[in-house]
């Protein structure tokens, strides 16, 4: 399948940039949405230099009331939407969220409410047309509530469940919903972490996203070995799980 009209939310995120770069080609048109004008301009310039066309929109995606207007704008820019990539997110400081529930709520709004709202709007627009692909970046962190980052994990877990439900609802309609669950990725979001052999690059995740988009609806762990790791983690009995320092 060829994706020629693509909207990207959180277009300046490392995974979004790497994915867009793979999809960029003459004839492909992007509509890029992000908060920071200068970063957005750098990303647009890169894709245009690769032969694609690109328009941009500045938005704080936490503002879910604007999502309808943002999608109207995207449709005006692209004509129709072949694929949407929902890639924005934050990795808050767990300890700070534990101390202040307002921070917890903000994390949830950015990492669950906002992407779920965009996916819902997209689904409602794509369903009558019976075509389109919705890709959203969730995380392996959403598979279980770990002590080290369960606030972020809650948001990603909720997002994964929401997308699973949406996928079931749209089954057979021609609209594909894809949940991407990356493991550890070396991006500006994780700049402060010590990197080890389990870490992967945005380019590798992007290659996996492109493959998943070709395959159609479903959930994908990236890189794929995370499926095995998470299979074990998901099946650990709680009595053992709560003792793990992860």
């Amino acid at each position: 399948m060829r994706f020629e009209r693509i909207v990207i939310f959180g277009a300046t995120s490392a995974i979004a940039q790497a994915t867009a770069r793979r999809l960029a080609a003459p004839g492909v048109r992007f509509h890029l949405v992000a908060r920071d004008a200068q970063k957005l301009d750098a990303v647009r310039g890169d894709l245009v230099a690769r032969g694609a066309a690109a328009t941009t929109a500045l938005a704080d995606l936490d503002d879910v009331d604007r999502h309808r207007a943002l999608l109207d704008e995207a449709e005006r820019a692209l004509g129709s939407i072949d694929a949407a990539l929902i890639a924005h997110g934050t990795l808050g400081v767990q300890a700070a969220c534990e101390a202040d529930f307002a921070l917890t709520q903000r994390e949830w709004r950015t990492n669950f409410v906002s992407p779920a709202s965009l996916a819902a709007h997209l689904a409602n627009r794509m369903e009558p047309a019976r075509r389109g692909t919705i890709v959203a970046i969730s995380s392996v962190a959403g598979d279980r509530g770990r002590r080290s980052n369960y606030v972020y994990g809650t948001a990603k877990g909720a997002l994964s469940i929401f997308l699973e439900g949406l996928r079931a609802r749209l089954h057979g309609t021609g609209v594909a919903v894809i949940t991407v669950k990356p493991g550890f990725v070396d991006t500006p979001m994780t700049a402060g972490f010590r990197k080890g052999p389990l870490w992967s690059s945005p380019a590798r995740i992007a290659a996996g996203i492109e493959r998943a988009m070709q395959r159609g609806p479903g959930e994908v762990y990236l890189p794929r070995f995370w499926w095995a790791i998470m299979f074990v983690i998901r099946h650990l009995p709680e009595a053992i799980f709560v003792r793990l320092k992860i």
């Binding site: 490392a14 200068q38 750098a42 990303v43 310039g45 890169d46 245009v48 230099a49 500006p188």
Partner: protein, 431 residues
């Protein structure tokens, strides 16, 4: 944080490694000296900054513009040459100069003013840089080209990252009729033969290089294989996808010794067993043979290896090369990848550019401590006596005296150094 360069020698402690991701942002404010680093393919300590901060610029990996008709590419400094070739080759373009690996960044290629097998016709990387933006620690952004801010331009080309951070650069591309090379491989019997072949090939062949069996002494000194090539007229703009092998761990220290290197050399020389051979090869295989093996530097084991690349003037090159090869043969050290090439006569692009008219010899030795280092000192002495130069990008140990003798414009260069920038190499050669 401990960081090692490509030679795995030395390994030094840094206060921080700060990733840079956006070209418009200011430099981070940190105590201690700064040094930009790309893919860290420099072999020694020119890409290290002991006790200071490395600005990891690989995240500056975006294109800015690509003029497909005119062959101009503007990109951020962290873009790798491999990425550029992947992008431009299908459109009939090529980088005018590439080193022996495509896994270097544009910033690194400028900072070391790298050269390739076509130096005799194309000069160095810096000769094809039209302009770049330099971000200084004071916050100024200075657009430099040969004509505007030319002093800073010539200091930055070959300037080892010491003049500030290159954020983006504009490169002139060269037309390539295909993505393939027609390669002739000729057996070289000795140094005389090498010079005769170089002379004979310079006019009609864009790319020439010789691999030398550095274990051979006496009358065999300089024997090896001479490879000369041009872009193939046919073959198309695409190459078959290559399979990458990888060296997953540091080999035991003894894996590379005189015995195994001798066996390799004999095997490699047998490629030229027919005295003359013509092949058509995709550009990565001809230009970047070692890029097919990820982490080949780990073959040298935990202690790493040291390179020694020098250039000596043409006039008495034979005598000096022979002296170096004999010093190696006598030392009991073994050089694995030994390369010989005659440089062209083009004026160097930068104040600290290494490539200059003369003959260059590149050697590499498994690091065995004092005995290896004293051999390299003997080689330096020969180079100094010849009026030549030793290449900073490959160096981990040259003396301040050798550096001064190699780079007569050092003082002129030093005036352009950014006061907040430094490197382990610079502090070593400029105490």
């Amino acid at each position: 944080m401990i960081v090692r360069s490509w030679g795995n020698y030395p390994r030094v402690e840094h206060a921080a490694v700060v990733p840079l991701n956006w070209r418009h942002l200011p430099l981070p404010r940190l105590a201690g000296p700064l040094l930009p680093v790309g893919l860290a393919r420099s072999y020694g300590d020119s890409c290290l900054n002991e006790g200071g901060t490395l600005l990891a610029a690989r995240g500056l990996d975006r294109l800015v513009s690509f003029d497909r008709e005119g062959g101009r590419l503007r990109c951020e400094a962290g873009v790798s040459l491999a990425e550029i070739l992947e992008l431009v080759v299908p459109h009939g373009w090529f980088l005018p100069v590439v080193p022996g690996t495509a896994f270097v960044t544009v910033g690194g290629a400028i900072a070391n003013d790298v050269h390739g097998k076509n130096h005799h016709v194309a000069g160095t990387f810096g000769h094809h840089v039209r302009r770049f933006e330099l971000l200084r620690s004071g916050g100024e952004r200075i657009e430099c080209s040969p004509d505007s801010n030319g002093g800073l331009f010539r200091a930055t080309v070959g300037g080892l990252g010491l003049t500030g951070l290159v954020t983006w650069a504009e490169l002139e591309l060269a037309r390539a009729p295909s993505a393939w090379f027609d390669v002739e491989t000729i057996r070289v019997e000795g140094l005389d033969h090498f010079f005769a072949l170089s002379e004979e090939s310079a006019a009609a062949h864009e790319y020439t290089v010789a691999w030398i069996d550095a274990l051979a002494g006496g009358e065999h000194a300089g024997r090896g294989l001479f490879m000369r090539a041009n872009f193939a007229a046919a073959g198309g703009p695409h190459v078959p996808p290559g399979r990458r092998l990888s060296v997953p761990f540091d080999f035991p220290a003894l894996a590379l010794n005189r015995g195994s290197i001798g066996a390799f050399n004999a095997l490699y020389r047998s490629r030229g067993s027919r005295r003359w051979r013509a092949t058509r090869e995709p550009y990565p295989r001809y230009l970047f043979p070692l890029d097919g093996i990820a982490g080949w530097n780990r073959m040298y084991g935990k202690r790493g290896f040291v390179q020694h690349q020098s250039v000596v003037p043409r006039a008495e090159a034979q005598r000096h090369l022979r002296a170096m090869l004999e010093a190696i043969a006598r030392s009991g050290e073994a050089s694995f990848l030994t390369v010989l090439k005659v440089f062209g006569d083009r004026e160097p692009a930068g104040l600290l550019s290494f490539a200059r008219p003369g003959v260059t010899l590149a050697l590499d030795f498994p690091m065995r401590g004092g005995s290896t280092l004293s051999l390299l000192d003997r080689l330096d002495a020969i180079v100094r006596e010849a009026g030549g130069a030793v290449y900073p990008a490959k160096d981990a140990r040259m003396s301040p005296e050798t550096f001064r003798a190699s780079f007569p414009r050092r003082d002129e260069f030093a005036r352009h150094i950014d006061p907040a920038f430094s490197s382990s190499f610079w502090r070593r050669v400029s105490p």
